[in-house]
């Protein structure tokens, strides 16, 4: 059974704290993605990675950074958390191919920044 796991389901942090969200997939996928989900806005892409040590900015990268040191692991970092980063964070992965492959999602991390 394919699996994408995220390190925490719920997280509460204070403004200014550094926050690490970790995602691990066991499907040997090349591509990994970080999204945030907000009501009415759907899923917005923060960053994605198509290979180890490679990263590309998505639609809303400001205030975030990422790290991909191993193929199966993709970390999202909030250098200095702010209240407007309170959201549901979703990690996804997929094969890299010339045609389309579905993205597989983790269960999400609900982050609250106080």
């Amino acid at each position: 059974d394919v699996k994408v796991t995220q390190s925490s389901r719920y997280l509460v942090k204070r403004t200014g704290e550094k926050v690490f969200l970790e995602c691990v997939q066991d499907m040997d996928h090349e591509n990994m993605f970080w999204y945030r989900q907000d009501p009415g806005l759907g899923l917005r892409l923060i960053y994605f990675s198509y290979d180890v040590k490679m990263k590309e900015k998505g639609d809303i990268p400001e205030g975030y950074s990422v790290s991909r040191e191993k193929k199966e692991r993709f970390s999202l970092i909030l250098e200095s958390a702010s209240t407007n980063q309170t959201s549901m964070y979703l990690c996804a992965s997929s094969f890299r191919s010339a045609s389309y492959n579905e993205q597989f999602f983790g269960p999400g991390t609900r982050l609250t920044v106080l």
């Binding site: 389901r9 591509n31 999204y35 009415g40 759907g42 892409l45 996804a92 999602f105």
Partner: protein
């Protein structure tokens, strides 16, 4: 500006009837479309997809229709069941492995 829009934030349907969820897009470069379903406290799961060379794809109770000239797609669920109650996202992709998602429609199927 959102390139993929789901204009109905919610939809309520009686069990056994048809549910129709709609999605509009603006980018004519999109050539592949997917629907995902999301339950609370879970990640989205893939439901059904369609490429731009087709106008219909069917999988059991789920059918996706694509009207390229209108830049519109719809998901039909028939018959609707209470377990179908969830948030549905449409997503569109172009040449590449990235997807653009709509804002989602919350479907409630009443017993």
């Amino acid at each position: 500006d959102q390139q993929v829009k789901q204009n109905s934030p919610s939809l309520s349907v009686q069990e056994g009837r048809i549910s129709i969820l709609n999605c509009d897009y603006t980018n004519s470069m999109f050539d592949y479309f997917l629907w995902y379903k999301k339950y609370p406290a879970e990640g989205p799961t893939f439901l059904i997809s369609i490429s731009s060379i087709k106008d219909k794809n069917e999988d059991g109770r789920f059918t996706v229709f694509l009207n390229k000239s209108a830049k519109h797609l719809s998901l039909h669920i028939v018959p609707s069941q209470p377990g179908d109650s969830a948030v549905y996202f449409c997503a569109a992709g172009d040449a590449g492995n990235m997807l653009t998602f709509g804002g989602g429609t919350r479907l409630m199927v009443k017993p």
